[in-house]
Amino acid sequence: MKKKKHWYDYLWIVSVIYLTLGFFNILFAWLGLICFFIPLCISVLKGNKLYCNRYCGRGQLFELLGKKFSRKKDIPHFLKTNWFRYGFFTFFMMMFLNMLFTTYIVFAGTKSLDEVVTLLWSLKLPWHFANRVAGVKPWAIQFAFGFYSVMLTSTVLGLVTMVLFKPRSWCVYCPMGTMTQGICKLKHKNKAM
C-alpha cells in the first residue's frame, strides 16, 4: 500500500540544491541556519521532533540514496548509546563554537579570511572558487566557509554510515536530533509519559 506523497516528502531536493550551491557561491551556506533554527523552535515550542519526523531533507536524501547504496546492516550498539550520542553532540558543539570563534577573530581583524572548507574537522580543502561576491564583510564569508564545512562534514559522515549500515543511520547520532530529543525530554520531564 503506497502512502500519499506530500510537498514535504520532496525536501531532499532542497538539501541537494543547498550542497550544490556551496560549490558556486559560499554565501549560500548561510541558508543552512534554517536547518538549525527550525528544529530547535519546533522542539522548544511544540515539544516534539516533527522536523526529524517530517521535514528533514537530509534524512530523506539518505533514505533515497540508501535504497540503492546501503548494505542495510544493523548499526553497532555503541553508536546508539547515550554516551556516544551525547558525547558526539558535545564534540560537534565544541567544533561549532570553534568555528564561531574563528568568525569572531576575522571580524576583529586578528586573522585574515581563510578560503577553505574543513572536511571532518581536519582536512582543509581549497574553496576560493566559491568566494565570488565583492564587498561582503570578511567575517560573513568566514562564517559561510565554517558553516558549509559543518554541513559537508555531517553529510559525508551520514553517507558513510548510510553505506555501512541502514540508510538513515545518521539520524541515530545526528547532533540536532540528539539535541531536540533532549529538549523534548526536558519539556515533558514533569508530565506523565
Partner: protein, 75 residues
C-alpha cells in the same frame, strides 16, 4: 485466543527519528512527545516494515497470544 505479530519498540534506544512512522501502512506508529515511538497494537498488522526501516534497529517483531476480533485489515 489467537497468535498475533506486532512491532515492539525498545524505547531506551529509540531516537525518535520517525523512519518507522513513515513506512507504517496503517499509521500505527506515533511519536507524540519527541522522545520515543509508540505502537498502537490495535492497528499494527505486524508487517515488519518499521523494523526494517529503523536505523537504530530497536524494533523487533513479536508474537503474542491475544484475544482480539479478527478484522479484515491485512494489506
Amino acid at each position: 485466543m489467537e497468535k498475533r505479530r506486532f512491532a515492539n519498540i525498545n524505547q531506551k534506544y529509540c531516537v525518535a527519528c520517525g523512519s518507522c512512522m513513515k513506512v507504517c501502512p496503517k499509521s500505527a506508529i506515533k511519536i507524540p512527545k519527541g522522545i520515543f515511538a509508540n505502537v498502537d497494537k490495535t492497528l499494527c498488522i505486524g508487517c515488519g516494515l518499521c523494523a526494517k526501516a529503523c536505523p537504530a534497529s530497536v524494533i523487533t517483531m513479536q508474537w503474542k497470544e491475544e484475544e482480539y476480533e479478527k478484522k479484515e485489515t491485512l494489506v
